[in-house]
């Protein structure tokens, strides 16, 4: 297909060596090894992958086939390096590299409980397999590395396996990912039956023929990407994993599924059918709304972030789906914009979500809890973490001028474009509604992160842990600083990024203008104005403060005397107005119980409860799982222990078989 080139294989093999050999060395060290060299090696491996990703843009697509005897029966280990995989290699390598400094500081507080050797192995294995998944060129290679990715990430989720909840989470995650593999397998097998090839490149199914295999593949990818209604594992697994792992999984791993989706459905697609486009857009929209709504009502900081991953995956899918739909009407710039938006958001989300997870990890380490109702006032004790977390929050809320806004603006443009471009009223209206929905999601995200940042870092500490909180170690801060910086830089240098994305989205047919022309935001002017006003304001503030120093006093308390932390608004009460608007989706219910004789008029104490119920988990998946377990319980009764029964079964079987044999002619 393509000539094998050396230039890319070098960094890849180097990364493979660093990521595989080093942790294997770790295997032979102490159980609680946490030496700096492991994170350094991880960092170097990540850099190599980053280089490889950059290199992918350098030359026409390259095909690498591993030498014999390595192979998978019918086909060989084959990898394809093209701009698309380059982009994702960049994401994987970049984020891993930026997470690396964080590892040692964080692991210091889990090393006592967990087997660090396993941790290092699994971590490097995860990074490596992610890199290979985006490179895989045929179905079998893909499945092998895909499953490797699942198993290593499972081990990472199960790193701290002594709490029961973590075990449960890990196993739920494993179950989900296994079903995703099963779906993919069925899809691939069916495609092979139709096309007779295992090569992704050779798959060309269109129209009704593409429907069945395409749907199976999509289902598999959706499970991995945590798309509604398959997202259940995501908010369960992420909180249980160590924070850097959550960052890697939520920031990067779920995107790997997106990479495959783009490769198989968008850029010279294997499965062509506009129905896929509609399905992807619709599910994306639902996931976005569903994710942000449930994020709003979470108490666990990391679970909140996990639900936001569902939301952002939804946004990315909307882009991809629009790209498919717009492309299906013939060449159009909209398709390119939409795909660019999706890919750009992939990168952005990888950055700020990792940043936020690292921040959550620092909070966890510093204050000893992730429960929003036990945190508060960390801004004073953890200023750095606070700053970076807030910046991450601003980016994920797509506030200009940070990177989140750039990609969401492109998304808006693609909706606008498809609303203008299409002639079918239903499409136009749908696209317009998507704009509204995106805006709604944005507003909800802002509300959610006002709550998150405010409750965690502002106000008074709500627990002893939060009072005693301490700032994270320097390494951890460096990681967050790097991620935060890249968030800002990417936001400001969006045109440059679009230049790169132009190369990736080139395969999509375009009429006329190019991608860069679509970017017509006065970003420079915006930033200048912001900077000037802020600087001016700062100077003026300094000056006037020196003139009239501020006075400190207690918060206004209606004259009852100084308020305690419990007088503050808690996370639950903050979101109450919004949650009660969406009570149907959230199954949001409030209850007020008053205790004491004559409780109605003069209650001794009042307790307010607000409960939400993740409908899918409690009404669909839970019952299904219980049902399966019950079957598993009942079915063992077949082995009743009585030999007479067994013999009788044999006779009955004999008669049945005889009947069948006799009935045949």
């Amino acid at each position: 297909m393509f000539p094998s080139s050396a230039s890319i294989t070098i960094p890849l093999t180097l990364a493979a060596f660093l990521w595989m050999a080093a942790p294997l060395a770790a295997l032979f060290s102490a159980r609680d090894t946490n030496s700096r060299r492991w994170s350094v090696l991880f960092f170097l491996g990540a850099l190599c992958v980053l280089l490889a990703g950059i290199d992918c843009f350098g030359h026409p697509p390259v095909r690498i086939v591993l030498p014999a005897p390595l192979g998978l029966g019918p086909c060989r280990f084959a990898f394809r390096c093209d701009p698309l995989s380059g982009w994702f290699l960049g994401v994987i390598g970049g984020v891993s590299a930026m997470i690396a400094p964080y590892l040692r500081g964080y692991c210091a507080h889990i090393r006592a409980r967990v087997d660090m050797r396993l941790f290092w192995c699994a971590l490097s294995g995860l990074a490596m397999s992610m890199a290979l998944v985006v490179l895989a060129a045929n179905a079998l290679t893909f499945l092998v590395v895909w499953e490797l990715m699942s198993l290593t990430s499972f081990l990472l989720v199960a790193t701290d396996h002594e709490p029961r909840a973590n075990r449960r989470a890990a196993l739920i995650y494993l179950a989900a990912t296994r079903f995703s593999t099963a779906f993919l397998a069925v899809g691939f097998l069916w495609t092979h039956a139709l096309t007779g090839s295992w090569e992704f490149g050779a798959w060309r199914l269109a129209g009704p023929a593409a429907l069945v295999p395409g749907l199976f593949v999509l289902a598999g990818l959706f499970i991995k990407a945590g798309v509604f209604p398959f997202h259940l594992w995501l908010p369960i697994a992420h909180p249980s994993a160590p924070s850097p792992v959550s960052a890697l999984m939520s920031g990067v791993m779920v995107k790997v599924a997106i990479a495959v989706l783009v490769r198989l459905f968008v850029i010279d697609p294997a499965f062509t059918n506009s129905a896929f486009g509609i399905l992807i857009v619709v599910l994306g929209a639902i996931s976005a709304l569903w994710g942000v709504l449930f994020a709003l009502v979470q108490h666990d900081l990391k679970r909140l972030l996990a639900y936001h991953t569902v939301e952002n995956i939804g946004l990315i899918l909307m882009g991809a789906g629009i790209a498919i739909l717009a492309g299906s009407h013939g060449p159009s710039l909209v398709a390119q914009i939409a795909l660019a938006a999706a890919l750009f958001h992939v990168l952005n989300h990888a950055l700020f979500k990792s940043l936020l997870f690292l921040g959550a990890g620092s909070v966890d380490v510093g204050a000893g809890t992730r429960d929003l109702d036990r945190l508060g006032g960390l801004a004073k004790s953890m200023p750095w973490t606070f700053g970076f977390f807030t910046l991450g929050a601003a980016s994920i809320c797509a506030l200009p001028p940070f990177n989140g806004f750039a990609s969401e603006w492109l998304l808006y443009q693609s909706f606008l474009g498809s609303a203008c471009g299409s002639t079918a009223p239903i499409h136009r209206f749908g696209a317009l509604l998507l704009i509204g929905l995106l805006c709604l999601v944005g507003a909800l995200a802002v509300a959610c992160f006002t709550k998150a940042v405010g409750v965690v870092f502002q106000g008074m500490p709500r627990s002893v842990g939060a009072q005693k909180a301490h700032e994270a170690t320097s390494g951890m801060i460096v990681s967050q600083a790097a991620l935060a910086a890249s968030c800002v830089i990417l936001g400001l240098s969006a045109p440059a990024v679009l230049g790169i994305l132009q190369v990736i989205t080139a395969p999509l047919p375009v009429a006329g203008a190019n991608l860069l022309a679509a970017w017509n935001l006065p970003f420079g002017a915006l930033v200048t104005s912001l900077v000037i006003t802020l600087l001016a304001g700062r100077v003026w503030l300094r000056h006037s403060q020196s003139r009239l120093p501020e006075r400190e006093f207690i918060t206004w308390e209606c004259g009852f005397g100084a308020l305690g932390p419990r007088a503050q608004v808690a996370a639950t009460s903050f979101v109450q107005p919004i949650a009660s608007m969406f009570c149907v989706v959230l199954q949001y219910a409030q209850s007020l119980e008053s205790v004491g004789e004559n409780a109605r008029l003069f209650p001794d104490e009042l307790t307010a409860h607000a409960t939400t119920e993740p409908v899918l988990e409690t009404r669909v998946y839970g019952p299904a799982a219980r049902w399966l377990v019950q079957i598993g319980d009942q079915i063992l009764k077949f082995q009743a222990g009585s030999i007479h029964l067994y013999l009788l079964t044999m006779v009955v079987t004999l008669l049945i078989l005889l009947a069948i044999g006799g009935s045949m002619k």
Binding site: P69, L171, L654
Partner: protein, 488 residues
């Protein structure tokens, strides 16, 4: 002739040693060495035949035995499993002698005596061209493995042995009836003279055989050998026998005996298909296979006994192989048989180690193994993953072969059911493995620290896992090509 001759001496030698040897410790080592030599010899004489593309099914049988590709392949598999289990047995019995009520030396030598003969009987089954010999060999395997199951002399092992003996003998008796029927069919065909039981001869003149007789005989043969293979409604003996036997014996039973039964089914199904009864095979064997897979997978979910767990997973794999047979996919069947033998042997041996260490089969009582024996646990996890057909292990490749042959025949429903069942099985195994490996290990648990955890206990499974891995990611293309070549 020499081919067949080389199979005999070493096992025979082991029998003699077992009859003569009385001193503890020596016999296992000697037997292991003998088995090693045996494996070398077999490899030397038989391995080349896999690459020798000249041999095909129509090679002339020697005294009713036929060393065709099928036979060759499975002789090698059996030898591999036997080698593994005999090597592991040295460490196993060494440890066994430390428990509270150690087995008498008499029992150990009995074990080796019967085990060696058992291996020989299995050779007969896979090499038999004459259905009568195949039947005799099959019954012999039952009779010879029953004492292995009874090794522990406990109430449970006794019960298991009785059920195993009776059910399998009855099944096999049906099988003999089927054999007799096919013999009659051969007489009625008019071209085979006084009649013949040679699979080759029968297959050659399959079309002259009277359809009705062929159908009825296939039904009885399927019932008979299906019982031995543990297909769904006939499987009841399997979990009992496999779980009560000592680890090396379980490995032999699960790793090679099931293959033998499946080879028998493969041959008779091939015969039926040649006689134009492919439809019958599809409506009898295929449903049984699918139900077996589904049933076994569901049985894994709530199973609390680790060895029964493995037994049921063997059943599941048997179902998959039976499906491969009914789909006529030889590469799928062969690969699956090989891979299942390799990794299931490894897992059974590991389970044996656990059993010896924790004195319990109850999964609920073993916790946090990862914290006390990381290496051992990882091996167990990998082994279970391999058993469940996870990439990159060979079993994945094999199951993939089978599924893809099903897909290529456009049986979407079959692919779906199998894929779903495999997923359920994987998850069930993962749950069980998770509850063993993870969690907090309570030191109060009745785990004994065995002084000489002899190397073979961990080495053999380790090597087997490596083999399984290599079968997955570095499978010799030539062999695969040949295996597929058999089909065309």
């Amino acid at each position: 002739m020499t081919l067949l001759a080389v199979l005999i001496p070493c096992p025979l030698l082991i029998c003699i040693l077992a009859l003569a040897g009385r001193r503890r410790g020596v016999l296992p080592r000697l037997a292991a060495v003998a088995m090693g030599i045996h494996a070398l010899i077999v490899a030397y004489f038989w391995l080349p035949r896999l690459h020798d593309s000249a041999i095909r099914v129509q090679e002339l049988p020697v005294h009713g035995l036929n060393a065709d590709t099928t036979g060759t392949f499975f002789v090698l598999v059996i030898t591999l499993v036997a080698l593994a289990s005999f090597t592991h047995a040295t460490g196993f019995f060494a440890r066994e002698s430390q428990v509270k009520r150690p087995p008498a030396d008499r029992h150990i030598s009995q074990f080796y005596f019967f085990a060696a003969l058992f291996v020989l009987a299995m050779y007969v089954v896979v090499l038999a061209d004459n259905l009568g010999y195949m039947w005799i060999g099959m019954e012999a395997t039952t009779l010879l493995s029953a004492p292995l199951v009874y090794f522990h002399r406990s109430r449970h092992s006794l019960e298991a042995t009785w059920k195993y003996l009776i059910i399998c003998s009855v099944g096999i008796a049906f099988g003999f009836f089927g054999t007799a029927l096919i013999y009659t069919a051969s007489q009625h065909s008019g071209v085979l003279g006084d009649g013949s039981l040679s699979v080759l001869a029968l297959t050659a003149h399959a079309h002259q055989l009277p359809a009705g007789l062929v159908r009825m005989s296939y039904v009885f043969l399927l019932l008979g050998y299906g019982t031995k293979a543990g297909l769904f409604p006939l499987h009841n003996w399997l979990p009992d026998a496999h779980s009560e036997a000592p680890a090396p014996a379980s490995a032999l039973l699960s790793g090679s005996l099931l293959n033998c039964a499946l080879v028998a089914i493969w041959r008779v199904s091939g015969l039926a298909q040649a006689a134009g009864q492919g439809a019958l095979v599809r409506v009898t064997l295929l449903p049984m296979a699918v139900i077996t897979v589904v049933f076994a997978s569901l049985c894994l979910i709530k199973q609390r006994d680790i060895k029964r767990l493995l037994a049921y997973s063997s059943m599941e794999n048997v179902g998959i192989m039976a499906a491969a047979i009914s789909l006529g996919s030889w590469p799928g069947f062969a690969l699956q048989a090989l891979n299942h033998s390799v990794c299931k042997t490894a897992v059974f041996l590991l389970a044996g180690n656990l059993l010896q260490r924790f004195k319990t089969k109850d999964i609920g009582e073993i916790k946090g193994l990862l914290n006390i024996q990381p290496g051992h646990t990882m091996l167990l996890l990998l082994g279970l993953a391999a058993v469940a057909g996870t990439p990159p292990f060979g079993s994945f490749l094999a199951e993939w072969q089978i599924l893809s042959s099903a897909a290529d025949q456009h049986r979407l429903w079959l692919v779906l059911i199998l894929a779903a069942a495999l997923a359920v099985a994987f998850i069930a195994l993962a749950l069980q493995a998770g509850s063993i490996a993870f969690g907090k290990h309570d030191a109060s648990g009745k785990s004994i620290e065995t002084a000489d955890a002899s190397a073979s206990l961990i080495l053999v499974p380790g090597v087997l896992m490596i083999v399984s891995l290599c079968l997955g990611i570095a499978f010799p293309m030539k062999a695969l090509a040949l295996i597929e070549g058999v089909l065309r």
